[in-house]
């Protein structure tokens, strides 16, 4: 797979790294935001688990894919924007029952802290059920203006689905990138 010219590579990287969608509100998101309408972390955390310990993490169970998939800092979410399907009845790579996975989507490139590889992550939306409301997460590394469609995380990608109603977002491994994000 050698021989790609530099421009194509750079273009690819910027597309692959951009990506996510439906942005919002800065410092948002991380963790089990629960029923909090305020996406501000301290409030949300305090409210969802008042006086209690944090919930047990949701992990892959394998060392090569580390991290709690209900928190915004899980490595695959580097360019996600929306409710994490892991908190909504789905998983990191499956939609909740009753929804339909969008056939088209935006992609990002995230580095796995365990194997140091840069993976192409596809952030397929789950559609047909109203806002999940749990685990709002917004990370904008590589996000570009809407003019660069595939690199902008503010679109609702519930396109080509029976209903365009947005429920939550997945983060699916679809390949390994040629090289690391900058």
């Amino acid at each position: 797979m050698a021989g790609f010219d530099k421009i194509a590579e750079r273009f690819t990287r910027s597309i692959a790294r951009g990506t996510s969608r439906r942005s919002l509100l800065a410092t948002l998101g991380m963790g089990m935001t629960g029923a909090a309408v305020f996406p501000v972390l301290p409030v949300a955390r305090a409210s969802t688990h008042p006086g209690g310990a944090a919930h047990p993490p949701v992990t892959s169970g394998i060392a090569q894919d580390p991290g709690d998939r209900t928190t915004c800092d899980y490595w695959r979410y580097c360019a996600i924007d929306g409710f994490l399907c892991t908190c909504c009845g789905g998983t990191v790579n499956t939609c909740p029952p009753g929804t339909e996975m969008s056939p088209i989507t935006w992609i990002g490139t995230c580095t796995n802290p365990a194997d140091k590889r840069a993976y192409i992550i596809s952030y397929n939306d789950c559609c047909g059920v109203s806002s999940c409301g749990q685990c709002l997460c917004n990370r904008n590394e590589g996000d570009r203006p809407q003019v660069r469609t595939q690199s902008n995380n503010d679109y609702n990608w519930c396109l080509g689905t029976e209903s365009s109603i947005y429920n939550c977002s997945t983060a699916v491994i679809v390949g390994v990138a040629l090289d690391q994000p900058q």
Partner: protein, 393 residues
């Protein structure tokens, strides 16, 4: 999506490698595998008895109410799915039918335009809609979620829907035939308590209870009123009873328990109302309080949410204890202190049953039903305003 990536790759002469083709990196020789798209989570063919359905009223967007499927045994992934339950909706679940039913109201332009009331039939296998029965007249009762505004009868082949315009009536729906059979006027009476094989009862404003049997067209075949079954001024009964088989146990705002045998054609008050009891430490007194204030376990014990600041107007404040009552012995058998004031209580049908409490802040807490010991919290992670809990049977 794979198609989309491929197209992108082609279009851009691109650097996306399938995961299996990537360069090794120590200590992991192979990258993580490529994952399937599209993919939707499956539900178990038979839902575990640790699961409950919870009505989320969603006060800040009543148009966008839901019923959520919740695994009370999971502290980190309790939310299993969301079913639409729009606009003061009601819901039913039938393991026998393999269906969740929602009774909803829609406008063609969300808040304005043409109104449509309908029952939607959702498949328990995949939470997808598989049918709809439009309810005529735009008269479905819109209230904060009361379970007894939408009930089965006729062996779960029919459903009954309460109407309020404010004229009161009940719509009889043939679920298998997907059609409305009849509308029964019910002046002065409210709520629906399935009675006998094919019929229902309602409580009436004069303190009586009205019972009707239905013919095969959904018309009233026989009816009967029994007077003075409740004193609405002094001992008003909470509208939603705990069901023990075909016996409905109602509790009053002051803590009196009154049973009705609904197994026959006519609701029969069970003689000998009795009190949930009293206790120290209250000011002014312990009273039942909450939204879903009473429920039963599989063994027939009753669980009543109790508030120590009981007074006029306190009956929806929620409870800080659950009092467990054995209606056969007419005795309180346990008092369970709660971690927080709670507004709804239900008990799972697990071999080792759990008591599930919904709090006003949206948190769901789980306790051991036999001992009252706190087991786990689910946090506020499944619903905005959880108010009615239905255990999977």
């Amino acid at each position: 999506m794979r198609l989309f990536v491929r197209l992108l790759s082609t279009a851009l002469g691109l650097a996306v490698l399938p995961a299996h083709a990537a360069t090794p990196a120590e200590p992991y020789a192979k990258p993580l595998p490529e994952e399937a798209i599209p993919s939707v989570s499956a539900l178990p063919g038979q839902w575990p008895k640790s699961w409950v359905l919870i009505n989320d009223f969603h006060f800040n967007a009543i148009v966008d109410g839901r019923v959520v499927v919740v695994d009370t045994s999971s502290a980190n992934q309790p939310l299993k799915g969301i079913v639409r339950a729009a606009q003061f909706a009601n819901s039913l679940v039938s393991t026998k039918r393999g269906e969740i039913l929602t009774s909803e109201t829609f406008y063609s332009r969300l808040t304005r335009g043409e109104r449509t009331d309908a029952i939607t039939i959702w498949d328990m296998a995949d939470l997808k809609p598989k049918g709809e029965i439009v309810l005529p007249g735009g008269k479905r009762q819109l209230s904060v979620t009361y379970p007894n505004l939408f009930q089965f009868t006729n062996g779960e082949k029919w459903a009954l829907v309460a109407n309020f315009t404010p004229a009161q009536s009940v719509t009889v729906v043939d679920l298998d035939g997907r059609k409305v059979l009849n509308e029964i006027d019910l002046p002065g009476c409210a709520q629906i308590y399935p009675t006998g094989q094919r019929g229902f009862s309602s409580l009436c404003a004069d303190g009586s209870i009205f019972s009707a049997t239905l013919d095969d067209q959904g018309k009233v075949a026989t009816s009967r009123t029994i007077k003075a079954v409740q004193d609405i001024d002094r001992q008003p009964l909470f509208s939603a009873p705990a069901m023990v088989g075909r016996t409905a146990w109602f509790v009053s705002q002051h803590g009196m328990l009154q049973g009705f045998d609904l197994s026959g054609d006519v609701a029969r008050p069970i003689p000998g109302a009795f009190s949930v009891g009293t206790a120290e430490g209250a000011a002014p007194e312990w009273r039942p309080s909450g939204w879903q204030v009473i429920n039963a376990d599989a063994a027939g014990r009753l669980y009543v949410l109790m508030n120590p600041a009981g007074k006029e107007g306190s009956h929806k404040d929620g409870g800080t204890e659950v009092w467990v009552i054995d209606p056969a012995k007419k005795a309180r058998v346990a008092r369970y202190p709660l971690k927080a004031q709670s507004v709804a209580v239900a008990v799972t049908r697990e071999d080792r049953p759990h008591m599930v409490l919904a709090r006003a802040d949206g948190v769901i807490d789980v306790y051991d039903a036999a001992s009252g010991a706190f087991v786990r919290t689910l946090g506020a992670t499944v619903a905005f305003n959880p108010i009615v809990i239905t255990p999977v049977q």
